[in-house]
Amino acid sequence: MSTTSRYIGVWGPFNGQFVESNTAHSGDIPFKETSSGGGVMLTVDRPNAEVAVDLGKQIATDATVGAVSKALIASGASLTSDIRVQGVPWISVPYFWQNAVAHNISDMLARIDFDFIIHTPWYCSDATGTISVYVLLFLDSHGHLQGHVDGAWWERHGGDPFCTGPIDSGLDAAIPGVKAKVKPILDNALKAASVIKSKRMYFLPGNGRKTPGTSIGDGTTDLTLALIPA
């Protein structure tokens, strides 16, 4: 079923809650994507052939949540959020300025992130924060979907006044392990779609539903990758 999906979000459809409105078409329509209203509204014409992969659903599985929780507990921390997947323009990835020309300025990456808490001795405040892994999803020269772990970033609040050093060292030490764990999860999430030879790929905020009507979604927690087969 070809569908026109319109997403409206105050901070842009990929950054917070958005209103989604889907209109079904009786015939097929070609792909078209337009942004208007200063980036507030995204309209996507989605052809019949579209193959949508709900990355949030595929990545934040019970198995992934369990593995992350277990790894955090082993490091003296606890998971305090769902695992979120969000579309992030390259220009707003935190390490953008370290090598700004690493990607095209219009490229969009996917961020997989989650919150944690580290309980500390009585003389320090507890530390909370977020670990984010940025992945580059792309079509290779043969038109097949590939996923690449591009980088990682963490943020910490609290842990003062005496515990910040060990906590930061622990987070630095944990990042390579987190990245290594994300790669097989990503490969598994993309496995079914990667066999399709595609001519185009694009992101949709939320779960990529096509059901006609209006609904509310959240672009900070879920992201859909859509492919048009060649």
Binding site: W11, G12, G16, E33, T34, S35, G38, G39, V40, L42, V44, G87, P89, I91, S92, P94, Y95, F96, W97, Q98, N99, A100, V101, A102, H103, N104, I105, S106, D107, M108, G129, T130, L136, L137, F138, L139, D140, G143, Q146, H148, V149, D150, G151, A152, W153, W154, E155, R156, H157, G158, T164, D168, L171, D172, I175, P176, V178, R200, Y202, F203
Partner: protein
């Protein structure tokens, strides 16, 4: 170009690209057009409305090189629409130029 005009252009650029309104106003916008790296990063985060998530402390992990066999990457739709507009394309080209001019020591 007068600094105020550069600030206005940067703010317009970010707004048109779908980054929302700049919340930290002039100082950060000035950093964007001047190519000052840490402040420029801050503005992009702030302009995305991430103020509530602004960290007390941030540190990054290592990043990997881009794979060689990349043919197509999803585009940020706001940026693509901006590029289709002549004024937007001019601003995008200017920003790309500034980005490309960032020296390794500034990265």
């Amino acid at each position: 170009m007068e600094i105020q005009k550069m600030i206005d252009d940067a703010k317009t650029f970010l707004r048109n690209a779908g980054f929302g309104e700049i919340t930290s106003q002039g100082d950060a916008a000035r950093a964007v057009v001047a190519g000052r790296t840490s402040e420029a990063t801050a503005i992009f985060q702030l302009s995305l409305g991430n103020d509530a998530k602004a960290p007390v402390h941030v540190q990054q992990g290592a990043r990997e090189p881009r794979p060689a066999d990349v043919k197509s990457v999803p585009a940020f739709a706001g940026m693509a629409s901006l590029a289709a507009d002549p004024t937007g394309a001019k601003m995008l080209a200017e920003l790309s130029k500034q980005v490309a001019a960032v020296k390794p020591s500034q990265k």
